[in-house]
Symmetry: C2
Subunit: 710 residues, 2 copies
């Protein structure tokens, strides 16, 4: 395994090695020596015979022994040569520190392509260029010039892979200041060869790693990350990632609604939730979550028990918990009775429980009350809040240790203004402590989110078997037909037929070519009907004035036919008009939008939103990567801000949520069969009838992908 | 001024004084002596003759000299006596530490009422009971037993008033650790006499105080806080408050929509924004904001310039800025050209500007680039981001000092993993530094929010003159009429007449008593029309099935008349039915809800929301305290999440936003005239026509307040 040679080399050559330990080319050697790397080190530099007491070689070719890893610290222009020599020597992996590549304009990009090509041809795997490198502290492999290598670098069960070198180093320093130990610190640099997800994939697999974290600005291939996330779910290793860069990269012109809503950030949010990747808003939250995951077991539900010595902090935490969708359950009568026996009358035995400052005088109070709360069946996780207590830190910690030893539920200590000695003692006892009430609640939310993702994952894997029932064949034939006609947009009729093949119900419709045909269709369908022009040039019929709703009676149908055709002709002169679609009016039902979009990073993603204002003004939609599991489909509906609408508001009855889930799964099967051939799909609206009555696609727009230049 | 005696006493008596400095009753004496309080101190305790070298008195009555402040540290049961004695001695102010009052059940509440009554009768102003007391560090008045009194208590321009003692003390400690100095630290305790806002009012007025902060769980009288906020705006002192307790206290049964949406938190959010009170989500944000306000000038706009040494941090900050409604402007061509001359090619001259780690080798780069960005006319505030730099802290700080000395725009340094020596040097130079990129952006948002509130306030004060035009008289007569009939709900006709008197346009309507009258009304108004039953027992006509829309033709009108009366009878058997309202159908228009609600904390508050789903499912409404200024009305519309709807979406033209503002101001005038007589008012819907065409009230519900028992 090549990445094993990269991360766990038995020997390292340093190209451009220098004795000046302040220089980029000198620092890795210093770190390797200081930290006691056990393998062989071969400095390579024609200028020196000896570097820091080690024999220095004129070139890698002059090293007689095998080399696993090359650290390349030479000027950009010399990198292709260095890589060629490494490959010739049979070195399987390299870290290229050198800058002056893709980040430096067209010339640099060209040089980077050359280096990537050289690596690819020779099979050498390359991290960088323009990277700070990495550390594997388990094996004291310091293939880095980052400031992170200075000072303490104890090994620990946390891995961190970052696309940003400078910010990543700052995060590393913050982690160290908190007593968190990283087993891996990896900067992916320009990713000419090895990408973020490749590097992450290796560290996830290391049995010594228990929590995986990352910092992303943008991915070359999002599907790789999803595969790593699946592996992490399987191994039960939480993954916490900070993703920046929210401005919509996908803001290119899209024909469908789904396409235009697929701003990259919405898709990231959706697929992260789907794959149990906990997203951190910023570096502080990243470390809070990493710390929490590395110390706490997973909660079995959303119930948060709060025990405080300050009523105010209790209210603050209860508020925040509610805001984040956690529950702050009322405690069982038994629990309250037990608390009443120990807590002073001016405290509170209701959740949040206020034990008051009394616990200073009576240290057992902390222990007893927290134990009682943790035993409540509705409590799945607990936070203990306290402030200051410089003089009583020992007592506090002693009591917390006893509680911690007895419980299997996650316990977080929110200690505001904590004395350093107290924090250190908690850390050494493996108890999770955060310096703020709000942040403790945020961390519990992270635990719950991940626990729920694990649970969903354990229950059901997404169905990747495709549609069956001839859907794939119909797709292939539609693609062939469209290519022959050099068009990408399916007609409404074609789209309806396709969806129908995947088991989606369509509102009864007939294409008519004359007013007389329209009337006949309307009579068969039953009044009132809707009339919509059918033309490949007109994707948005409302905009073109080319639809009429609620049409009743024969005169009205004939008039409507002429009107919609007239509007269409004015809107798109010369456009081909296939006819007018006559459709049943569905009277009741909640408008939903379901779509499919070929995301440049994550491939086919499925979207759902609540129709009308919520989608168009608030962008209230949820995405997931196809294929979906039933649990994914269910959760994406719950993620909508307006999801309550489906339960029935304004005097309406509850909508048939199950039928929306079926439609989402059908679209997911279609996406699997399409294998990239469908670029965009809107079912808009899907009218969802009252519970038990199903859902009907009323309009649909499908756009095929550009034929691949192959 | 009595509060002056409380906060700046020339002499202090300590009732229950003890020589045991660990005890609550001993600590203030220790603090006063340690910190060098310059006034006279009189320990009072019959058990001692001397305490800590001071003459101790058997009772306050035995002190020959005048006493300004009594610190009461005796058991709860002895407090009434102590207060009586203080009053008899002519002491104008007291701080009562003792617990065992309102927090301890009914008996305690009764005792607290007695103490409050004693204080009121004698004119003695009382802080507490159950308070940690306060510190005025300017004058070294340590009337507290809080841990906050231990250690350094340097005087500074920040005041902090807190309802929570324990949490407040923790916040004080965090502030001290950051080098923030509080001139006042005040805990309001049970507020038997002096309330949070009374105490805040005093510290706002102190010329040595520049920034005011607070922590609130709930207010007895919100109007007092608004008056203090007005004063703070006038004095140009920013006020930052953390308010916890979001669960709707106002969740009591309300007849109107407005009333049921007035969960106390929405009202708090609205009035805080109105009065320029910057709301902090938690203690960390509170201190970030306090620190920023105490060091930075106010920005003139929302343009944020970002200069970093890490591309990643730049993206993170730009994302966050956009999320918070700040702008990250493209820089002027001149600015970019100037930056291009100094920044390396692999950096970025676009905002966020990335100067790269190059500035370590070239320290002038930091200074030059930051100066160039600050000079850009679109940049109103700047953040400089850096990480670590232990070894270069001096250089960094030196350069920042030069930039800071030359600019009048706010500059915040976001320094992640900063060395303590660097932070200290910045602090001493008066430069604002925060330890996180995200928090720096949040702080700029606080500056902008306050600057905008100041600006609105400086431009126009709310109109408190009431309606004129006989509105007040009509209100009085309606109130008289309703009282006589023992009803609280106005008829639709009465509500319409009242609104009309305040200049609000009403959809054309006629009350009919028979189908024939209805037809006549419809013919005068013009078809189609709406028919709605008019009955004091039916407030929500849709729910009762007692309205018909889009009725055309004489038969249809007669049928609709019978139907709505029939539905009403079934819905509310035996209810009085005044007739059927025949109303014009307004065809176009955006649905808006405008309301008035008598808030238990803030008195009359005006609400606006966008009709339908947004209000009902997402609760997307904004509140402000009456009276409103035009700027308030404008801003509350902008605060709506769906405000873009008014600009026209889904092919609709822009709505007449000005007319909504006029309606809000009219409701504000009505609230002033009503002086508490109107408990709830809904205009729902107000149909807003396209720009220039006004807005029409289509339905209205007004409910009078219960007559005051007087």
């Amino acid at each position: 395994m090549t990445l094993d040679r990269l991360f766990r080399p038995r020997s390292i050559a340093i190209l451009g090695a220098s004795e000046d330990f302040v220089k980029i080319s000198g620092r890795p050697l210093k770190f390797l020596l200081d930290k006691g790397y056990a393998g062989k080190i071969f400095p390579v530099n024609p200028k020196y015979e000896w570097v820091a007491g080690l024999r220095c070689y004129p070139s890698v070719g002059d090293i007689a022994e095998p080399v696993d890893l090359a650290i390349v610290a030479v000027p950009a222009a010399a990198v292709p040569d260095a890589v060629t020599q490494c490959a010739a020597k049979g070195i399987p992996a390299a870290v290229v520190f050198s800058s002056g590549f893709g980040e430096m304009g067209e010339e640099g990009r060209e040089l980077e392509r050359r280096v990537a090509e050289l690596a690819r041809r020779s099979g050498l795997r390359l991290c960088g260029p323009n990277t700070l490198g990495f550390m594997n502290t388990f094996d004291r492999v310091m293939a880095t010039f980052s400031q992170a290598g200075e000072g303490e670098t104890a090994a620990g069960p946390i891995a961190f892979v970052t696309q940003s070198g400078a910010f990543g180093t700052a995060i590393f320093a913050l982690a160290r200041a908190r007593g968190l130990s990283f087993g891996y610190f990896v900067n992916s640099g320009n990713e000419a060869d090895l990408e973020f997800a490749d590097l992450l994939d290796f560290v996830v697999a290391d049995p010594k790693v228990r929590v995986v974290s990352g910092y992303i600005e943008g991915l070359k291939d999002g599907r790789k990350l999803l595969a790593v996330a699946d592996r992490a779910l399987e191994l039960g290793k939480p993954m916490v990632i900070a993703k920046v860069g929210r401005s919509a990269a996908g803001a290119r012109a899209a024909l469908s609604h789904t396409g235009s809503l697929a701003g990259s950030d919405r898709v990231y949010t959706g697929v992260f939730r789907q794959k149990g990747i906990v997203r951190a808003a910023h570096e502080e939250e990243l470390l809070d979550l990493v710390s929490t995951f590395s110390l706490c077991p997973l909660p079995e539900g959303r119930g948060l028990g709060i025990v405080t010595q300050s009523g105010g902090a209790g209210v603050l935490m209860a508020d925040r918990a509610e805001e984040l969708g956690l529950s702050v359950p009322g405690l069982a009568e038994d629990t309250k009775a037990a608390l009443r026996k120990v807590i002073p009358a001016f405290g509170s035995v209701k959740n949040p429980v206020d034990i008051t400052a009394q616990f200073i005088a009576d240290p057992a109070l902390l222990r007893t009350s927290l134990e009682i709360v943790l035993q409540d069946p509705q409590v799945d996780a607990a936070i203990f809040y306290l402030g200051l207590m410089e003089r009583f830190a020992d007592q506090v910690v002693g009591n917390l240790k006893e509680v911690h030893a007895k419980t299997r539920k996650p316990l977080i200590v929110a200690w505001v203004g904590a004395p350093e000695v107290g924090l250190k003692a908690l850390r050494e006892s493996g108890i999770c402590a955060l310096p703020s009430a709000t942040r403790a609640v945020n961390a519990v939310r992270g635990l719950v989110e991940y626990a729920e993702a694990r649970h969903r994952w354990a229950q059901e894997r997404p169905g990747i078997e495709g549609g069956g029932g001839g859907g794939a064949e119909m797709l292939r034939s539609l693609v062939r037909g469209c290519r022959a006609e050099d068009r990408r947009v399916l007609t409404t009729g074609e789209s309806f037929a396709l969806l129908s093949r995947y088991g989606i119900r369509i509102a009864r419709s007939r294409l008519s070519r004359t007013p007389a045909e329209a009337l006949q269709a309307a009579e068969e369908i039953g009044f009132p009907v809707a009339l919509k022009v059918e033309s490949p040039a007109i994707q948005h019929k409302t905009e073109a004035g080319a639809l009429r709703l609620n049409v009743s009676g024969s005169d009205a149908v004939a008039r409507a036919f002429d009107e919609v055709v007239g509007s269409a002709r004015r809107y798109a002169p010369g456009a081909e008009i296939h006819g007018v679609l006559v459709q049943e009016m569905v009277r009741e039902g909640t408008e939903v939008v379901v779509g499919l979009h070929l995301d440049p990073q994550f491939g086919p993603v499925v979207m759902v939103g609540l129709g009308g204002i919520l989608v168009e003004v608030l962008g209230d939609v949820a995405f997931r990567a196809a294929p979906l599991s039933r649990g994914d489909a269910d959760q994406m509906l719950r993620d909508l801000k307006g999801s309550r609408i489906l339960e029935g508001v304004r005097g309406r009855s509850a909508a048939d949520v199950q039928s929306v889930i079926e439609v989402l799964l059908a679209v997911s099967r279609l996406a699997v069969d399409a294998a990239g051939a469908v670029a965009e799909l809107d079912i808009n609206p899907l009218l969802v009838l009252p519970a038990g009555q199903g859902a009907l696609a009323v309009d649909a727009l499908a756009i095929l992908a550009e034929p691949q230049a192959s």
